[in-house]
């Protein structure tokens, strides 16, 4: 689960870390008041969306599609600038490298006091799955695309693994400060902030904390000028305060609804809907559809113990996508019995008056019974023995092979 920069900054502020003063706004008037309250000095006017690359993004008018402004993060030198930028950002669509072509509607702004930057750094904390430990990564090359740095000059990224049961040791933090070439006052300031960030990472069960840039000011202080914070969904049960920060408008509504029914759904661009049990098999089903010339419309894992109701919900979610022209159901019945799935499929197709072609592949526990139920239903349901056969069948039925 991700949160906005302004929410991340508040978490940092509450933890006593070095962030600039700033105000969250949803209207131009609020942005102007924020400018005044920050003392009428230089401010940054920052679009708040759950995606990176905002500074280099482009704002579009949602109605006309015309470009409104280049750059979703702007430095404002006076009141007129603030008004102009806030107007250009709020209610418009921001497209960045990470949002996809459709972009994101910007409804939130963050107006933040400026500071005199001497140097920009990069800092991130995440769990390194190879070492099975949290990892702090830092680089002198802040403010730029860190993936490019990782690709071109991996030696410019310094890494420290930290055991969460022990915490970040002072010598580890000082070692990182030295690697970054920090001297004087900025060392203490860095150690304090990186230690605080690591404690926050552990205490709030973060999945990722990324600060790009973290800056050294002209008076040798470290300031966290950015805040990209994501949380481990599996740990949200122990953080009701974090759950409060969720902005559902930033998430795909169908994916949110699927999650509420314990279904894992991801929308894709094709026209063949998939309903599968198990994440690996669901991915493999998408792959095989593509292999035989079709395009999957979604990833959908109904989980290991799906019941009739979940199958009906799953069909409903798939059918909401207007691009879907046919559905492939692929179930390897283990714990889940194929006869139950077959009944669920029949109930769902009747309830939704499904007219698009439907191919069902059932294998595993009670598959004969499942296939018999489908065959005797009198509905227009095609059955397949193998995944390959099912995929070829549905691709042919939707006429998807464009090659």
């Amino acid at each position: 689960m991700n949160i906005h920069e302004y929410q991340g900054k508040q978490l940092f502020r509450d933890a006593g870390l070095a962030v600039q003063e700033g105000v969250h706004c949803t209207t131009v008037e609020q942005a102007l008041a924020a400018y005044d309250s920050l003392g009428g000095n230089v401010v940054a006017v920052k679009s708040q969306i759950h995606a990176g690359g905002r500074g280099k993004g482009t704002l579009y008018d949602p109605e006309s599609g015309d470009v409104v402004m280049e750059g979703g993060v702007k430095i404002a030198f006076n009141r007129e600038d603030v008004e102009n930028y806030a107007q250009n950002i709020l209610g418009n669509i921001l497209v960045t490298k990470q949002t996809g072509e459709e972009g994101k509607l910007v409804s939130n702004l963050y107006v933040e006091g400026g500071c005199k930057i001497a140097h920009e750094y990069y800092l991130a904390i995440l769990v390194d799955r190879e070492e099975k430990m949290p990892l702090i990564m830092a680089s002198c090359e802040g403010g730029v695309d860190i993936e490019e740095v990782a690709e071109e000059t991996p030696e410019a990224i310094f890494k420290v693994h930290v055991d969460p049961s022990v915490g970040l040791l002072p010598e580890q933090a000082e070692g990182l400060a030295n690697s970054l070439g920090l001297t004087g006052l900025s060392i203490d300031s860095f150690v304090e902030n990186v230690s605080g960030l690591f404690d926050l990472f552990v205490s709030k069960d973060c999945a990722m904390v990324e600060i790009n840039p973290m800056v050294r000011t002209e008076d040798d202080k470290i300031v966290l000028l950015d805040a990209k914070v994501g949380f481990d969904e599996n740990a949200l049960f122990r953080h009701p305060d974090i759950v409060e920060l969720r902005d559902l408008s930033e998430e795909e509504p169908t994916e949110v609804r699927a999650k509420a029914s314990d279904l894992s759904y991801v929308k894709l661009d094709g026209n063949i809907g998939c309903l599968v049990n198990g994440a690996g098999l669901a991915m493999a089903t998408m792959d095989v559809i593509k292999l035989y010339g079709g395009e999957p419309a979604n990833f959908l894992d109904v989980g290991g113990g799906a019941n009739e109701e979940q199958v009906t919900t799953a069909f409903g979610i798939i059918m909401e996508d207007p691009n879907v022209k046919g559905i492939l159901v692929n179930i390897f019945g283990g714990i889940m019995r194929c006869d139950i799935i077959a009944r669920g499929v029949i109930a769902a197709t009747q309830a939704l008056a499904l007219e698009d072609p439907l191919v069902v592949r059932l294998v595993g526990t009670n598959f004969e019974e499942g296939r018999r139920i489908l065959a005797e239903s009198g509905l227009n349901i095609h059955t397949a023995e193998t995944l390959a056969e099912g995929a070829k069948m549905i691709v042919e039925l939707v006429g998807g092979d464009s090659q």
Partner: protein, 307 residues
Amino acid sequence: MSIWIDEDAKVLVQGITGNQGTFHATKMVEYGTDIVGGVTPRKGGQTVDLGTLQAPVWNTMVEAIEATDADASVIYVPPRFAGAAIIEAADAFSQVRNGGVIVCITEGIPTLDMVKAVEHVHNTDGVRLIGPNCPGIITPGDTGGSKIGIMPGHIHAKGRIGIVSKSGTLTYEAVAQTMSIDEGQSTCVGIGGDPVNGTGFIDCLSAFENDDQTEAVVMIGEIGGNAEEEAAEWVAENMTKPVVGFVAGMTAPPGKRMGHAGAIISGGKGTATEKVAAMEAAGIRCANDPSEIGAVLLESLKAAGLR
């Protein structure tokens, strides 16, 4: 032989009194697994009805292992308690009998809980953790066998193919593929799709390499991380037995989590294309379609003079 779990392994069920625990313990007993009892805090002294078996319940793993000399435990406790259950089992196995196998089925455990649990297991001699978020491990026997997990037992048969997989139902698919060419399995291990887990591909491959019963291996990967690439490198340097593979997620878009907590292409890393390339370069023949795993395996067996 087989790897880690013998046909007659004695198994405890942690969380045996819960719905999932009782349901799957019953299925394991039906398959032939020697379930010797279970553990649920504050329910010691009770028994649980597993159909043909009334299983005794203990309060702690130490008591349960002392009473039964169990070789392994399987965990069905809810996610918020699962990390602690792993640590308890590791300490108990180490203390009472110098080791044991812990199989954690639970899905949805917080990542940092797993970091702590895996580090603890790593520092406890003789203890192996399989999972979490996995179907478990199964060693089919001549009659029955040992099924420790949630996989459908009846699709398996004893044989010479080792299977290791990140995915649950795709493991079953791989089992069915071996059966389609008249081959059975030595041991099948589901290592799970979480970012932080216990046993990995290389542990399994290395054990299969050293196992007399195993003559070839099927390895099923999926997008995310670089475990498949590391395993491929290990195979190229160390493995003498044929390995065939499949990697799920060729069509998965970057940045989108595909069900499993670990199944995500981030920063352009962890793509299926990279993994298949690394595996092929290491001599692991990969199927494009899970329905072809059997055919690819058959060719590899023939090429190695095993058919």
